[in-house]
Symmetry: C2
Subunit: 153 residues, 2 copies
């Protein structure tokens, strides 16, 4: 019974899953980033947080979470590690004591200059034109946003 490939099984074949394509691509990116980020002393999620803060710091944890789609259960310990590495400072907001504001330290600011080498290495590893990458990125973001829209029912 059902020994040879059946057409009815196609939807369950690993190679037909776009989710697995995305999942495995994310891990592949992680592995390419690893040696680059090791030099900065950052993990990949920490790098994402730093990207947010390099655009604008002195922001509450919640804002970082909304930009990265992460919650406090992930961010609180991560930010404590960044603080232990002297890259950020955490402090309660005076206007609203519930909020913890995340600010860059001078070392945190300075790391941005070292980080400028990262995107070009990634581009090289992608072995692909910038315009192709931008087009793919836009498609993937659109898919992500449609998926996220479904989650809130």
């Amino acid at each position: 019974m059902a020994r040879k490939p059946s057409a009815a099984d196609a939807p369950l074949r690993l190679d037909n899953q776009i989710c697995f394509a995305v999942y495995s691509a994310a891990h592949a990116f992680n592995r390419v980033y690893k040696p680059l980020l090791d030099r900065l002393g950052l993990t990949y999620p920490q790098y994402l947080v730093m990207l947010v803060l390099w655009e604008r710091d002195d922001v509450p944890v919640k804002d970082i979470g909304e930009k990265l789609f992460l919650d406090s259960g992930t961010l609180t310990p991560l930010l404590k590690r960044l603080e232990a590495a002297h890259l950020v400072k955490r402090s309660r907001s005076r206007e609203d004591e519930r909020q913890v504001l995340i600010a860059l330290t001078p070392q945190g600011y300075a790391l941005k200059e070292k980080a400028r080498a990262v995107p070009q290495s990634i581009l090289a590893a992608s072995d692909c034109s910038v315009s192709e990458l931008v087009a793919m990125k836009d498609e993937i973001v659109a898919l992500r946003d449609r998926l996220n829209a479904v989650i809130g029912e």
Copy 2:
């Protein structure tokens, strides 16, 4: 100094990172899958392992790892949980005692039928035509493979 958006900062802007698009899309998929897989009693990585085994079981851990790009540090505990859930059986190969072969139990086989509902739910959540999804999947897989090619130098 550098208060307003600078063109030099574009490569470091979060919204310009294809890696973040992929990373956040993977998490979005995870969140859409969660309620569907809860009904099967599986996590998303466990579901991927089951997809592999539904295509062919009685395979060594290494084969599963190569298909999913995961190593024994991830798979060993995951497979033990699947065994505890009576979905797979782990046994040492007689021909090569180093290998652990993973076989489906009757319950593991049976779960495939319940799983058939999953892909169509995902398709609906993607809100996108099959042909578009296939095209995206192929592009992402190609990017993933180029990235993986760089890792082995």
